[in-house]
């Protein structure tokens, strides 16, 4: 019996698939009980995609777990209110566990964030899907439906043999087995590359179209919500801030928090000439959550009533000439949020990002193009035909992982180059080779300047020796550079000032500092003796949006003040655009496109750059068409490495002898592309 033969869910009757009324959930963690959800009223309508958007600590994931009846007993949950899914009460204590299990089996499906740990590592994926699907035929049909290639083979694979994207598809297959009424997806794409994310979101939406199930998508990213959701519910501090149709919420947010989130979101259209905006800082005062509106401490529009009375969920008052938006409600006393500019609801997190005009380095070694009249400055980093491969053992056999397959790049003094790529692109390896932490297998890297390049790592906390104080770490750097003892105190103080840290931080150890502070200390250590080039390895990926903006501002500010170059590796195009004068795009160990940031963003040439750009979740934009999985550096496709996924691939792109290199796209312009068909491709 196929998926489509099963009786359709309650979609046809129009009743909500899930209903939540006045839900309060408190959990005990580490001996402390805290209220996680405070009075949630929500319906999930049949066949809709509802996005729950909120930051960490908002309670969005707990709501998902409550709907599934999977609140852990170890946290001694206390639940009041009504939680009904497909006619059955799901709150612990109401009804029987057997009834809840039945609902989970028949009406619910779940997709969790990390597919590696969410799948049983010792069981073949086919067997795991079969637990939900019931028969092997069904497993095959499901695998095909979620777009897993060669399903007969893949079903016999173990989870660790599949890529992240494939694993998540397997999770989705398990979730939609048995045609559930409601699929709960908890940050399903956060751990995935951006192109894979686009595919998975597309898959979720198309499955919804086909099967008619509802999807509750929990996410922290408004862009993701904007791409797939019909309705959006914004959560803050355990309460709903705003609920409404996606278009309405995103275009005319009715709650200051939503407006602030939208304004502070780093996107491809963030203004580069102004300082980045962030939400006002959070204050962890438990009293804030008890009475009144929990957002009031950060809200520019707060007034007395906000402190004494929690606002109810109501439609916003209509303004002149405004069309009423059905179903759009918010919990706020302020009469007209939309009238306030973003600048009022957010804060500037530092000086403007863009300062001096970008310096374009002298081009190097490309045949048949007119050399540019560029300034004769020797580059501060010069990378030439760099290769790097590691011997690895995969399933008992020895092979090579080709991280870098011939990279040419130059960085001019005081220039910022952002290197962009997904996992497996080799971008981190490139950085490590330049830093001298990794030895190259071939090619050459030279750096000029008085001192060696310094690096800022992704995990700032782990890059600080846990038992040494900040002062000791900074002092060590000075000592190895031969700075005399008597000067050190002053220089340490100045370095801390430059990263906006109080001098008292000197005596602290890494564990006593917050994530943002640790990253600043790392920056201070890297720049206390100004290096010719600062290498940044995804320093903002693990940080919340506001912290990320602050770090970006610091990096750019330091760069201007100290006149150093920056080589910034990231997977996030929005960040790359904000930091880099030039952007270099990497795929499977090679650069595929290099050019001025605005140009690469506005008019990308290489098909991969176009795909990357199209895959970035922008509000209201359609999901792009990107094929295939990112290939693995263990098995690089012959010819042009991108050809299996390239919409413009031709026969000659697959020839093994092909050695596609960067060439000037148009004479007289600085942009470089590595594609043999680049002149034929439409701009």
């Amino acid at each position: 019996m196929s998926v489509l033969d099963l009786p359709a869910p309650t979609a046809r009757t129009g009743e909500p698939v899930a209903r939540v009324r006045d839900l309060h959930v408190s959990l005990a963690r580490g001996g402390v009980r805290s209220a996680v959800l405070r009075g949630i009223d929500l319906d999930v309508l049949p066949g809709e995609v509802l996005a729950m958007v909120g930051e960490s600590g908002s309670g969005k994931s707990v709501l998902g777990l409550t709907l599934m009846g999977l609140l852990p007993e170890a946290s001694a949950p206390q639940v009041t209110g009504e939680v009904v899914v497909a006619g059955t009460a799901m709150a612990p204590g109401a009804g029987t566990e057997a009834a809840r299990r039945q609902v989970r089996r028949v009406h619910l499906g779940a997709v969790f964030q990390d597919p590696m740990t969410s799948l049983n590592p010792t069981m073949r994926v086919g067997a795991q899907i079969a637990e939900a699907a019931g028969s092997d035929d069904e497993v095959q049909r499901l695998l095909r439906a979620v777009g897993v290639p060669s399903p007969e083979q893949r079903a016999r694979a173990y989870p660790h043999e599949l890529s992240g994207g494939l694993r998540q598809r397997v999770m989705i297959a398990m979730a939609v087995a048995g045609r559930p009424s409601l699929v709960i997806a908890d940050e399903p794409t956060t751990a995935l590359d951006v192109t894979v994310q686009a595919q998975v979101l597309d898959l979720l939406r198309s499955l919804r179209d086909e099967l008619g199930c509802s999807v509750l998508m929990v996410t922290h990213d408004l862009g993701v919500a904007g791409q797939v959701a019909d309705r959006i519910a914004v959560m803050y501090a355990g309460r709903l801030a705003e609920v409404g149709r996606a278009a309405n919420v995103l275009r005319s947010p009715a709650h200051p928090y939503t407006a602030g989130l939208l304004a502070s979101r780093l996107s491809l259209s963030t203004d580069r000439t102004r300082a980045l905006r962030t939400l006002p800082p959070e204050r962890s005062d438990p009293a804030l959550r008890q009475v009144g509106c929990p957002y009031r401490a950060r809200c520019a529009l707060a007034h007395d009533r906000c402190a004494s009375e929690a606002p109810p969920m109501e439609p916003p008052p209509l303004q002149l000439g405004q069309v009423p938006a059905p179903g759009h409600v918010r919990a706020c006393w302020a009469p007209d949020v939309a009238a306030h500019r973003a600048a009022e609801l957010t804060e500037a997190s530092g000086a403007a990002l863009r300062g001096a005009p970008p310096v374009v380095p002298a081009p190097h070694g490309d045949a048949g193009s007119v050399p540019e009249p560029a300034p004769e400055v020797p580059p501060v980093v010069s990378i030439s035909r760099l290769t790097c491969s590691f011997p690895v053992r995969v399933r008992g056999r020895r092979t090579h992982l080709q991280a870098l397959r011939g990279v040419d790049l130059q960085v001019a003094p005081a220039e910022a180059v952002a290197v962009v790529g997904e996992s497996g692109s080799g971008k981190s390896t490139l950085l490590r080779v330049v830093a001298g932490l990794q030895r190259a297998s071939g090619g050459e890297v030279t750096t000029s300047g008085a001192t060696r390049p310094q690096m800022v790592f992704q995990d700032a906390g782990a890059s600080l020796t846990p038992w040494m104080s900040v002062g000791a770490l900074l002092g060590e750097r000075l000592a190895t550079e031969g700075v005399p003892q008597r000067e050190r105190a002053a220089r340490i103080a100045r370095a801390l000032e430059q990263v906006e840290l109080p001098a008292a931080v000197q005596g602290a150890r890494a564990a006593e500092l917050s994530g943002g502070q640790r990253q600043r200390v790392a920056l201070a250590r890297a720049t206390i003796v100004p290096p010719p080039v600062l290498l940044c390895d995804e320093p903002t990926s693990a940080l919340d949006a506001s912290l990320a903006a602050t770090v970006l501002n610091l990096v750019t500010g330091l760069r201007e003040r100290l006149g150093m170059a920056v080589l910034f590796v990231t997977h996030d195009l929005s960040v790359a655009r904000l930091v880099g004068d030039r952007i270099a795009v990497m795929y499977l160990g090679r650069l595929v496109e290099v050019g001025p940031a605005e140009q690469v963003m506005a008019a990308p040439v290489h098909p991969y750059t176009r795909a990357l750009l199209a895959a970035v979740p922008e509000l209201g934009s359609a999901l792009p068409e990107v094929r295939g999985e990112p290939a693995s550096p263990l098995a690089v496709p012959p010819g042009c490495a991108f050809h299996p996924r390239c919409p413009a691939a031709a026969q000659r792109c697959t020839e093994a002898a092909l050695d596609v290199r960067l060439e000037r796209h148009r004479p007289g312009e600085p942009a470089l592309v590595a594609c043999i068909r680049h002149r034929e491709l439409a701009p």
Partner: protein, 297 residues
């Protein structure tokens, strides 16, 4: 696009087999836990003191008959009774404790030093040195330690020093492996790379950025291990591989008086209880040291 998630990550799993702990008073317990930890660790120091002062603390000469043979505990002023010749069991046990405890400390110390150095060298130097050292270590670890110790002592001839040597020989690989593992784990962390970038040389990195991270766990392992060594020593002594008569030794004293078990049970049992006391002290003390030195990482 990655975010430091979310409440779900902090929320552990479900009902069924796993039921929750009662939650109240956790913070209050932390303070008392700390005092208990200090007390436990202090126990180790106390036992060492007793061991060192045993000759002074013993009320009678352990080698001389001083009372009626086979007196039960409490009779005639002998707290633990006398053995078949009339020697005071309390004194004998105290001396036995001294031998066992100090020898165990010595084994652990040697193990830490030798094993720790090997492990540090292997972990820090890497390459073929690491490979070679670890092959040797693995070899020792793959063989049943106590059996090999028995074979070694049997070959060298019985005696306290030989027993100590044999046990040390089979014990150090354990520490080498642990220290190497810790060094490798630490060396892979970014802070070592960051230190290298900051210009620190190999020696400086080893001393300032690696060693302070390894020492706590090595010390914890060592203190938890003391109990095991005590028991192994006692077993070897029981099998006749320790000191020869009439020296008081916890295992040997039991072995030599097994025949008295059914009639004068305390004669073979008391030395065994001495070993039990040492082993318990080692376990409790080791737990205390672990509680003190292991902060939430």
């Amino acid at each position: 696009m990655t975010s430091l998630t979310s409440s779900a990550a902090a929320v552990p799993q479900q009902r069924g087999l796993l039921t929750g702990r009662p939650v109240a008073g956790r913070a209050r317990r932390a303070v008392t836990d700390r005092r208990l930890a200090w007390a436990a660790a202090g126990l180790l120091a106390l036992v060492t003191l007793v061991a060192l002062l045993a000759p002074v603390l013993a009320p009678h000469d352990p080698l001389q008959p001083v009372g009626l043979p086979s007196s039960p505990p409490g009779a005639g002023g002998f707290l633990l009774g006398t053995d078949t010749i009339g020697r005071d069991l309390l004194s004998r046990t105290l001396l036995g404790i001294r031998t066992s405890w100090l020898a165990s400390l010595a084994v652990v110390a040697v193990g830490l030093l030798v094993g720790g150095t090997v492990g540090l060298a292997a972990g820090a130097l890497g390459g073929w040195v690491d490979g070679l050292l670890m092959r040797v270590t693995d070899l020792f670890l793959s063989l049943p330690a106590t059996l090999v110790a028995i074979a070694v002592v049997a070959a060298l001839g019985p005696g306290l020093f030989n027993t100590f040597l044999a046990i040390s020989l089979v014990w150090w690989p354990f520490y080498a492996r642990i220290v190497r593992g810790e060094v490798r784990a630490l060396a892979a962390r970014p802070h070592v790379e960051a230190a290298r970038l900051a210009g620190a040389g190999g020696v400086r990195i080893a001393l300032r950025h690696l060693l302070p991270g390894v020492v706590p766990s090595a010390v914890v392992t060592a203190s938890l291990d003391i109990g095991n060594v005590v028991l192994t020593l006692a077993s070897l002594s029981f099998l006749g591989l320790g000191q020869s008569a009439p020296a008081p030794e916890l295992g040997a004293d039991t072995a030599r008086t097994l025949a008295e078990l059914l009639q004068h049970w305390w004669i073979p049992v008391v030395p065994g209880l001495g070993a039990l006391a040492l082993s318990l002290a080692g376990n409790v003390g080791g737990d205390g040291v672990r509680a003190l030195l292991t902060r939430r990482r």
